[in-house]
């Protein structure tokens, strides 16, 4: 009996095999890489390439970085392994020799009646002093600007804080450059998405940095400055020359509008709700300022136009915030009280972090110190229309360079600027709804308001895939954004 049972078992096991499809998708030849070769893919860029989200680089985010999603699809068409410099945990904070230098990722804390992004609790375990050996297909370095990719001090731990903690972890030597370490891997295919931080750090700082257009030496730039477009163009050409020297194909992405990210679209310019009596009381308080403006105009120190633009006026309902604008004419020589105040217009952008101080008291003892109402927002708390203009001008120049060089090097061009504008306008639909750039609920942007969620990165990956398919006549499947999470709730 037992013998029979074993015999039957043996027969069954030998024939109990998996059903095979007529056209299995995981067999060579089902999908095509077209004229591209995905066997050794290297991604170069900044936080967006690294998989950064929620103000940190953490494990889950890296595993679902857009290059990782691409590599996953590439693997169906001849792609090889994709090695990422994974951090040690899902907290995302960084240590250097045990000392925390970078905060943990943000999660949404929900308490009775309110929800707010807070750093997740815990002690991170990723210490950048623990150097990772080997080479990494994902060379996305959070914080990197264009000129950082060729900086040979950028991965030197002795050079902190100017050096980059993420590059320090993986740099092949103290003198290594990001682009050098990428090219040394002899990639057959690359993605390059760089330049965002060359304008973004200026924008997120509220325009406190300088526009360095005309200054060709990036080593003299401050951390919140706008990179000169010619510097950008020369470097970009160098990157592509180096990455394509071995005949590699690739894809480059352009720079989205800063006005398309929730960091700047969430707090409205007229964020101050007032009732009629409060408005009247405030108008009374601002009367001396408004009168001073009229006098300055009569004296001819400012135009009537400027006087009107600067006049503070509240009414019942939503009111524009009061702010200090360094571009206005200085009147303090007439009267110390005539500071550079005006009310915001819909051309001004208020950065997301300001939402946590707006309407609160700058001096808890003084009920008349409401930030944005009786205490104006300062330069770092807003991006004025003229500052936005500087950002847009540089961005246009970068994007022209990227498109021109993509054509010149005959590689795929990925219009992420277009994608982000679509997210900001009608949204991008997927099988479970529509994702938009609305902060928190839109699904596309993580809790830092700058970086996409994993679902947001999925639509970024799809935009790359479509551009690659079209440029190289490849036939890669897309990812399903519905399978990727958005924000994380504590």
């Amino acid at each position: 009996m037992k013998k029979y049972l074993y015999t039957v078992l043996a027969i069954s096991l030998s024939i109990g095999c998996q059903p095979e499809f007529n056209d299995p998708i995981n067999e060579v030849g089902f999908y095509s890489s077209g004229s591209a070769d995905f066997s050794n893919y290297v991604a170069v860029g900044n936080s967006l390439t690294a998989g950064y989200a929620d103000n940190a680089l953490y494990l889950e985010g890296q595993l679902n970085s857009f290059p990782s999603m691409l590599a996953n699809k590439f693997s169906l068409a001849g792609g090889g392994d994709f090695n990422q410099p994974l951090v040690s945990d899902n907290l995302g904070g960084l240590l250097v020799n045990g000392q925390q230098i970078q905060g943990n990722r943000l999660v949404l804390e929900v308490t009775a009646g309110s929800q707010s992004p807070v750093p997740i609790e815990g002690t991170p375990t990723t210490d950048i002093a623990n150097h990772l050996e080997g080479s990494f297909n994902n060379m996305g370095i959070p914080g990197a600007k264009s000129f950082h990719l060729t900086a040979n001090t950028y991965g030197n731990i002795g050079n902190l804080p100017a050096a980059n903690p993420y590059f320090i972890r993986i740099a092949s030597s103290n003198q290594a450059t990001v682009i050098g370490d990428a090219v040394a891997q002899d990639p057959t295919f690359f993605t390059l998405w760089i330049g965002n931080n060359d304008i973004l750090s200026f924008a997120t700082s509220g325009g406190v940095g300088e526009d360095q257009t005309g200054n060709l030496d990036p080593f003299t730039y401050g951390s919140s400055d706008i990179t000169d477009p010619n510097v950008f163009a020369n470097l970009y050409n160098e990157f592509l020359k180096a990455l394509t020297a071995n005949g590699a194909k690739g894809a480059v992405a352009n720079i989205p509008d800063v006005t398309s990210i929730p960091y700047f679209t969430t707090v409205p310019y007229n964020a101050i709700p007032l009732d009629e009596s409060t408005a009247a009381m405030l108008n009374q308080a601002y009367e001396p300022y408004n009168n001073g403006l009229q006098q300055a105009a009569l004296l001819g120190v400012i135009t009537d136009e400027e006087a009107t633009a600067r006049t503070i006026n509240f009414k019942a309902g939503q009111n524009p915030v009061v702010l200090l604008d360094e571009d206005l004419t200085d009147l303090t020589f007439i009267n110390q009280g005539l500071t550079n105040m005006r009310q915001a217009t819909d051309k001004d952008l208020i950065p997301l972090p300001v939402s946590s101080v707006l309407g609160t008291l700058s001096d808890p003892e003084n009920p008349n110190s409401v930030i944005g109402v009786s205490v104006p927002l300062n330069d770092s708390q807003l991006l004025t229309a003229s500052e936005i203009e500087l950002v847009v001008t540089a961005q246009r120049a970068y994007n022209t360079t990227i498109k021109t060089l993509a054509d010149q090097y005959d590689i795929a061009f990925v219009d992420i600027q277009g994608l982000m504008n679509t997210l900001a306008q009608e949204g991008v639909s997927f099988d479970g709804g529509t994702i938009t750039n609305t902060f928190g609920t839109g699904g596309a942007f993580s809790l830092d308001g700058v970086h996409p969620t994993q679902r947001g990165y999925a639509v970024v990956a799809n935009t790359f895939i479509k551009a690659i398919n079209s440029k190289y006549n490849a036939d890669l499947p897309i990812v399903n954004p519905g399978n990727y999470p958005t924000i994380f709730v504590k």
Partner: protein, 418 residues
């Protein structure tokens, strides 16, 4: 009962889940019958008649006969989706449905019998967190029917029989609560519903007519049995803290109801000569009883899953050849129609119509003992299908692709009789 069969039976009891026929029906109720395309409503040959047609017991030659058998079910599912480059295979669990039947002839006119068998069940396990994990990670359904039986011969031509069925069953089902929710560490939020010892009652009735020595006609009806799982455990895992502020996902129980549908069988067998016998059966399974899989949780939440099965038919053909006095060879074929309608192709039972090929033999070890062996190969064509009724934010989200199934089911039994 021989010692080794006891071991086999015990083994079987340990893991009795299976799945391959339409829906979650397991048509593996006898080795001799399975070898002949699972025909048997009108084949007078063994105590398996307790299941196939209780009325036939009175026509058996033996005074007392017992059969014990079990099958090894190797059922496999491959899935792929061309749009997204997904490719998934189930984990190829092996399940072992079993059966025990005994029949005793009280006198010329009355026979009694007892059957213990497993006509419904399902066991599918996908890789955890696979692309369809919002529909299922794994499921294990098992049921055991116990049926005391009595049959009366009305005259030499007509016999009737039947008995109550006591059904007991277990369910264990895990899925992720949606496509993306995780705890703060990225672990997918999921729920396991588990209930053992669900019980219910039904009945089995049959009629046999032997208009001639050579021709036998049979009709059998087995009632629907509604398995109501009450206050089972619903274990929610990896719930985000903020989603569980009131502890609404702690110590949750669930109620759910699953129909084991009624089945009507009509068939005939014809003894051509001493060597040859042919049989045909037609099954109608009233699957339209399975409209929804509704799970109601004690925390006020519920999960509504339309199934909308349709009644389905199975067409069975079998042939038997007495090769030598000790060896009987059998073969068969059946076409099994799937009760699953287009658009309702849930990955827990992702099966379309199948062509089934069977074979087997009985070998007489002695006057009283015989070994019965059977083999079933189930062939499914690959099919592009989807489940379109999963809801996310009030909108239907389709999940589908190309499915292909197959099954290999060897079986072994032993018959004792005198």
């Amino acid at each position: 009962m021989p010692m080794k069969s006891t071991i086999l039976l015990v083994l079987s009891l340990l893991c009795i889940t299976a799945s391959y026929a339409g829906g979650y029906r397991i048509a593996l109720q006898g080795q001799k019958q399975l070898a002949m395309g699972h025909t048997g409503v009108a084949v007078i040959n063994a105590s398996e008649l307790v299941f196939f047609n209780p009325s036939g017991l009175t026509f058996l030659n033996e005074k007392f006969t017992v059969s014990v058998g079990a099958n090894l079910v190797f059922a496999n599912i491959s899935f792929q989706n061309q749009n997204y480059g997904w490719h998934t295979e189930d984990k190829n669990g092996v399940s072992t449905p079993f059966n025990v039947y005994a029949a005793y002839k009280v006198n010329q006119w009355v026979s009694i019998g007892l059957g213990i068998y497993t006509p419904y069940g399902s066991g599918v396990e996908y890789p955890k967190d696979w692309e369809g994990s919002h529909l299922i990670n794994d499921i294990s359904l098992a049921s055991i029917f116990v049926q005391p039986t009595v049959a009366f011969k009305i005259n030499d031509i007509v016999s009737i029989g039947g008995g109550p069925i006591f059904a007991t069953g277990n369910v264990n089902f895990n899925r992720n609560i949606d496509r993306t929710t995780t705890d703060v560490n990225g672990n997918r939020t999921n729920v396991t519903i588990d209930k053992t010892g669900i019980t219910a009652w039904g009945y089995n009735l049959g009629l046999t007519v032997k208009p001639s020595e050579k021709l036998t006609l049979g009709v059998n009806y087995r009632s629907k049995i509604q398995m109501d799982a009450k206050n089972g455990d619903a274990d929610f895992q990896n719930v985000p803290e903020a989603g569980n502020l009131q502890g609404q996902f702690d110590q949750v129980t669930f109620n759910a109801s699953l129909p084991l549908p009624a089945e009507l069988t009509v068939g005939a067998s014809y003894t051509i000569n001493e060597k040859w016998l042919v049989a045909i059966d037609y099954n109608r399974v009233y699957w339209n009883a399975y409209e929804n899989l509704n799970v109601t949780f004690s925390n006020g939440q519920s999960s509504i899953n339309p199934r909308n099965y349709k009644n389905s038919s199975t067409y069975r053909f079998g042939i038997q050849y007495n090769a030598t006095p000790r060896l009987v060879l059998r073969g068969g074929y059946y076409f099994d129609e799937s009760p699953v309608q287009s658009g309702y192709f849930a990955p827990e039972t992702p099966r379309n119509d199948s062509n089934n090929f069977t074979g087997g033999f009985s070998f007489k070890l002695s006057d009283r003992f015989a070994i019965d062996a059977s083999f079933l190969y189930i062939h499914f064509d690959e099919i592009e299908e989807s489940y379109d009724y999963y809801q996310e934010n009030g909108q239907n989200v389709s999940f589908g692709g190309l499915y292909k199934n197959n099954g290999f089911v060897p079986g072994l039994g032993i018959t004792y009789g005198f």
